[in-house]
Amino acid sequence: MIGLMFKDILVLRKTLRSYLLFLLFYVGMAAMGLFSVSFITAFVQIIVMVLPMSAFAFDEQAKWDRYALTLPVGRRAVVTARYLFVLLMIFTAALFALVSCLFLSLFQQGDMLENLGTSAVALALGLLAADLNLPMSYAVGPERARPYLYATVFLPVVAIIGAANLGWLDGLDQLSPSVLTTLFLFIPLLPLVGLPISYLISCRILEQKEV
């Protein structure tokens, strides 16, 4: 299973390296006051949603699953390795966003609480994308699962706008910073709870898949 995780990292190492360079560039620019901190969190959100799809796309191109299932690891290990890799990437990216926000707060770039909130949203979006798109990618392949990735992005936005129009979010700006911080910390927990269900569905799909 560790070997399969190594595989994802090695296959995507060029992409990961360029993402890291971009992020460091944004941090540098933000520290100089040329970019907003939100550039970093927005980029992190993109990374956490795109990386799992890239891993699947590379696997599909190489027909990797056919080979992986000849190895003495079992089908469940193939799924476990993919979930662990995705979680590792999501948490690393979110941690990077968080550390960047804390670091940039030293330069008084942006509102600390707002930055913390966007980092939490980035983490939550990454986890939500994993919840939905990993089983979809196993079921129909990364190409056909791509529209669901877009749905993952747009549905929460539509839901928030709808909730705001209905007045459900009125008074949110009146909440104290401590309440808001607690709320932000709870946002990623929701998709995190869905992850075991998503994992079991993916295992079930791969167990029945003929490659």
Binding site: L4, K7, L10, A62, K63, L69, P72, E210, V211
Partner: protein, 286 residues
């Protein structure tokens, strides 16, 4: 000694195609060639053996282990090379070692690099720049580096030039020098199998039509050349298949000596695996 592969009563149906009661036994210390026309069921059989697809019926064991109930044990000593290279383009050969080392407890990095050197594969070059021959040699190096007891190869030599094929066949012959090693090799290139195989199993339309030692097949099967008139004088049970052409007829016998004694006026020649495939695939019953 335990057989390396035992397949009994294997059935798998796709609706328009079905494997029907396939039996196959590969003794340790030998190479079995799996032959058959496109769509005959060779890859389906190999996929069932590797549990890549679910079978409808039958039993399969690898080195005595059930390939489903004891899948990990069954696959621990198996090296697999399929018809393509499944390693991603951005990877380099040295990365394959990093990936497979935690997968196989018996992975031997030195052995892997020995094969990379032997096959003249650059360890640090991305696989994207490899030719098909290089990719297949890399797959073979990866399959051999954990010291497997069984090699399963599906069309692994297809599309390779004779030099590379010969190099790979040499490797198979050296692999089975150890008596508990065996190779199952599916191939269209019957001349390769005539060089290295000990046993031949011929699949036709999802059924095993011939499974025997290669030497016995080549010793006993024969091709009979005759006219249509002469063919009409042959008893139906004496020829397995016949082919009728404009300038004459040909028949396939499974007992060259007996046929020659019974029909001394007809010419019977030794035959090849390719001839047998052509008779079964394109010929007709007498």
């Amino acid at each position: 000694m335990i057989n390396s592969i035992e397949v009994h009563g294997l059935c798998k149906s796709y609706g328009d195609f079905a494997l029907q009661n396939v039996d196959l036994t590969l003794p340790a210390g030998s190479i079995m060639g799996l032959i058959g026309e496109n769509g005959a069921g060779k890859t389906t059989t190999i996929k069932c053996i590797l549990n890549l697809i679910a079978r409808d019926k039958g039993e399969i064991t690898l080195m005595g282990y059930d390939n489903i109930r004891q899948e990990r044990l069954a696959k621990a000593d198996v090296g697999v090379v399929l018809d393509e290279c499944f390693f991603h383009d951005p990877l380099r050969p040295q990365d394959i070692g990093t990936i497979l080392k935690p997968v196989f407890s018996t992975w031997d990095e030195a052995c892997f690099h020995h094969y990379l050197d032997q096959f003249a594969l650059p360890a640090r070059k991305p696989i994207k720049g490899f030719s098909r021959g290089m990719k297949m040699k890399l797959s073979l190096a990866a399959a051999l580096a954990h010291h497997p007891k069984l090699l399963i190869l599906d069309e692994a030599t297809a599309g390779l030039d004779p030099v590379v094929r010969d190099e790979i066949l040499e490797e198979f012959l050296s692999f089975i020098q150890q008596e508990d090693h065996a190779v199952l090799l599916s191939s269209h290139i019957t001349s390769d199998l005539e060089k290295v195989a000990d046993y031949i199993t011929y699949l036709h339309q999802g059924q095993v039509v011939l499974s025997d030692s290669k030497d016995s097949i080549l010793e006993h099967y024969g091709r009979v050349g005759c006219t249509a008139q002469q063919l009409s004088e042959v008893e139906p049970g004496d020829l397995l298949r016949v082919r009728r052409g404009t300038f004459g007829c040909e028949g396939l016998t499974c007992n060259r000596g007996r046929f020659q004694r019974k029909y001394p006026h007809l010419m019977v020649e030794p035959t090849s695996l390719e001839d047998i495939m052509l008779f079964v695939g394109k010929g007709e019953d007498l």
